[in-house]
């Protein structure tokens, strides 16, 4: 295998610095003891993390985001498992359309989904409802789950299922004891990527959250447009931490390169 020359490695180092710099500075500033956004040159302090935990708005938004992400990821998986079985295992009229429909939120800008949901919620009188917010998030995370599930289902050997059937197992038993365990990496990987995407979502949510359902990214956006203090850095560092944990889990159960690059 050929190696990269020195010029290539310098270029590569600069790109890595460019990609990491904004995240690193946020994590450093979060530990500042000062009152202004500054690097912690005179020792580290946790005061801004304490400030976050004592800020009722941020605490409430954190729980909103967490519940929203858990519910929408779980429900999206529950809908996507049967739907992706239908798409991968049967040839039926409208199959191509359904596939395109389920993946469409990937190519519709979240801004457009946001204003569209806002209009729908106004028409049906659902403005500010948490349940409808969950449903809206299900729409944007389902495509990520579907992609992994379709890959997992079409990648596995049907003869194992057929062996189970021929040995007299019922349909329900085969699904529970054979199919589900075999697609489990796709299910858990899909759940995690759905969780991350819902937890991070800003552009659609900003149109359809109400004061009581504001999510963490929306709260941060609102806060950052008015004032910026190190508390924003502390919240950001916490979000980076949560994302890092989810990313490591994702890497363990599914392989991050497989999810991001799509090498199935």
């Amino acid at each position: 295998m050929t190696r990269n020359g020195p010029a290539a490695l310098i270029f590569h180092t600069l790109v890595v610095i460019f990609m990491l710099a904004p995240l690193v500075i946020v994590c450093l500033v979060a530990f500042t003891p000062e009152n202004t956004l500054s690097l912690p040159t005179r020792g580290f302090s946790l005061r801004w993390f304490q400030a976050v935990f004592h800020h009722p708005d941020f605490v409430q938004s954190f729980w909103n985001s967490l519940w929203l992400a858990v519910l929408s990821a779980t429900l999206a998986v529950a809908l996507a498992v049967p739907a992706s079985l239908a798409i991968t295992r049967w040839e039926f009229p409208g199959r191509g359309f359904l596939n395109a429909l389920f993946l469409s939120p990937l190519i519709i800008p979240h801004l457009v989904l946001g204003v569209a949901m806002l209009r729908l919620f106004a028409v049906v009188g659902a403005a500010g409802s948490f349940g409808w917010l969950v449903a809206a998030h299900m729409v944007i995370v389902t495509p990520y789950v579907m992609r992994l599930l379709i890959a997992a289902i079409s990648g596995f050997d049907r003869s194992v299922e057929q062996a189970a059937f021929s040995l007299g197992a019922s349909e329900a038993t085969v699904f529970r004891r054979v199919t589900l365990p075999m697609i489990l990496p796709g299910v858990t990987g899909g759940w995690l990527i759905a969780f991350i995407n819902s937890f991070d979502e800003l552009t659609m949510s900003i149109f359809i959250t109400s004061p009581s359902t504001v999510t963490l990214p929306v709260r941060m956006y609102m806060y950052a447009t008015e004032s910026i203090d190190p508390m924003m850095a502390a919240v950001s560092a916490l979000i980076i931490g949560i994302t890092a944990v989810a990313v490591l889990l994702l890497d363990r159960v599914y392989g991050l390169d497989r999810i991001l690059v799509g090498q199935h």
């Binding site: 800008p109 299922e161 950001s236 390169d257």
Partner: protein, 301 residues
């Protein structure tokens, strides 16, 4: 993605398996998801398209009737023309920079050996999963008046510069957000490339540059094109970056839609701009599909 192609449809002769006897089964299985998508994708988009043709009364805030004035405003009003032009300019610039940085970086990554390759692929791609608000905030600190970039400029004797709330800052932050979307498709097409072909070119006396330009580049061109279209589409509809780093003056299409909806409360006007944005995005994506399909058909035929 190839997994979703029809060639993965059931082809095995297991017709006696009970799951396949009822053609109604896939409809049952997909029904919940179909209901969700009909209710929360198709219906709201349809309602928004209708809304964009409604008249808006500034005095009462009521909407109704039929008019084309919002669409006409977009193509005649200087304010909207300028915003669409600026969005196009910023997105095109961000896309070009992503090509210039992302393509060589993907090539360098592909020539690394493990474990470095996996580690750096993770470093380049993982920021994709961190909320865009956090990344925008990171850039506002890096480029702020007291930030390290200005510190370096002062140390170099150039002096403090006002970096925030400029088109340049928006472009830089967009490149940071979009770079993974360029690296991924280029990386994927590099994976399909047989390194022996490049080796062959080199052993026949081609220079490194010739090998890259004549052998590698043509094969990863579809990857570059697909990355460019994705980056351009996402940049043109980006909201958080111009919202947080563009300030009040530097509006892009997405921030204008936000203003129309939540400040001016002129929903029909906002809907018209959103519909145009959606149409532009769909055209870009469909062009991409046609191009990629055409490319493979040519290669196969």
């Amino acid at each position: 993605m190839s997994a979703s192609l029809p060639d993965t449809a059931p082809a095995s002769p297991g017709d006696e398996t009970p799951v396949r006897r009822f053609p109604i089964a896939p409809l049952f299985l997909s029904a919940p998801a179909v209901l969700l998508f009909a209710a929360l994708v198709l219906t709201p988009l349809f309602l928004t398209a209708l809304l964009s043709f409604n008249q808006f009364d500034y005095a009462t805030g009521r909407t109704g009737g039929f008019t084309l004035e919002h669409y006409l405003a977009v193509v005649t009003d200087e304010y909207y023309l300028e915003i669409f032009l600026r969005t196009f300019r910023i997105s095109a610039l961000a896309t070009a920079i992503c090509v210039v940085i992302g393509v060589p970086e993907a090539y360098i990554l592909s020539r690394m050996t493990n474990p470095w390759r996996s580690i750096f692929l993770l470093v380049i791609l993982a920021p994709l999963l961190v909320s865009v608000v956090v990344r925008a905030f990171g850039w506002s600190m890096l480029l702020g008046p007291e930030g390290p970039v200005n510190g370096a400029l002062i140390a170099l004797g150039i002096g403090r510069m006002k970096l925030l709330y400029s088109e340049g800052t928006v472009v830089v932050a967009l490149v940071h957000v979009m770079l993974p979307f360029m690296v991924i498709p280029v990386w994927t097409s590099l994976q399909k490339l047989d390194p022996a072909v490049e080796q062959a070119a080199l052993s026949f006396g081609a220079s490194r540059a010739t090998a890259i330009v004549r052998v590698v580049a043509p094969q990863i061109l579809p990857g570059i094109l697909s990355g460019s279209l994705i980056v351009f589409g996402l940049s043109a509809s980006a909201f958080a970056i111009p919202g947080l780093l563009g300030g009040r003056r530097l509006k892009m299409v997405a921030t204008v839609v936000y203003d129309q909806y939540l400040s001016d409360l002129n929903w029909p006007m906002g809907a018209a701009v959103a519909v145009i944005l959606l149409a532009a995005n769909l055209i870009i994506m469909l062009t991409y599909h046609r191009m990629v399909e055409g490319h493979y058909r040519r290669r196969l035929g």
